[in-house]
């Protein structure tokens, strides 16, 4: 079998492009479960704040704990054989970083308003997704952009109903984003 250099170059380009799409699809598939989980956490936490439920102030910390445990379980299920522990550990570290950041920014910036804290945290998460998308694939960046636009729009035009807006646009948006990532 004789292969000319031009044909070899074209085959290598095709192979690399297909491998990149495959790696992105694997990343999307894995990330989608976390987005859906944290979208549910966000939607329920905001609904609790919007409805001013009796245990409303405890809703977010309790839901975050559920999110961390859920992330750990997703990581355990995603891994196979020897990698199972690695994925679970990665999930735990990412979830712990998220919880530490969420609480740390409130302490350091002396944020007393839950709405301000949420807006700042969601903007940071949106920016994080944008950066992840550079390495994983453009869809992840698109989810980050959509989240940031949702936060800014809600802050400018729906401040009175911010928690309801964030439950629907923020939490709901993450869930939709997760479902969209699965469709590759």
């Amino acid at each position: 079998m004789t292969i000319q250099p031009e044909e070899a170059a074209r085959a290598l380009r095709d192979a690399e492009a297909a491998a990149d799409r495959s790696a992105a699809a694997v990343g999307y598939q894995r990330s989608s479960q976390y987005l859906i989980l944290w979208g549910l956490v966000w939607a329920m936490g905001n609904l609790a704040a919007f409805l001013r439920l009796p245990l409303g102030p405890y809703a977010f910390p309790a839901l975050m704990l559920i999110g961390v445990v859920g992330s750990f379980i997703i990581g355990m299920r995603a891994g196979r054989d020897g990698r199972r522990r690695n994925y679970a550990l990665q999930s735990l570290v990412i979830a712990a970083a998220f919880v530490l950041f969420a609480n740390g920014v409130q302490v350091v910036a002396e944020i007393r308003s839950l709405a301000v804290a949420e807006a700042v945290i969601c903007l940071a998460i949106g920016a994080g997704y944008m950066v992840m998308g550079v390495y994983m694939g453009w869809r992840m960046s698109a989810v980050g952009v959509a989240l940031m636009i949702a936060v800014i729009t809600g802050w400018l035009y729906a401040r009175e109903q911010f928690f309801l807006w964030m439950a629907l646009a923020g939490g709901g948006g993450l869930i939709l984003g997760g479902l969209w990532l699965r469709k590759v």
Partner: protein, 102 residues
Amino acid sequence: MASADEIIHQSTRLKLMSVLNAMPDGQGLDFKRLKAIAQATDGNLGAHLGTLEKAGYVAIEKDFVGKRPRTQAVITRAGRRAYDAHLQYLRDILAGVVPDAD
């Protein structure tokens, strides 16, 4: 020195192998997703997968998700080795270390 693999080199099969090789160990793809990710325009996907399966490069696994049957293609260890060897051969051609490429 690595050598050309005629089975893998065919355009559609090269894309299929590239997609499957990028999957984690033991993880497969159903035909619909495999075709979409590989952007395989060739309608004869089943025949290409059959060729790869016959060569021992791909395993076709059937299972159930709930009550729905699912057929997945998974790259084998031999498939990964053959794919890596073929890509190395292509790189060698570009590097000019394959004497009979012309």
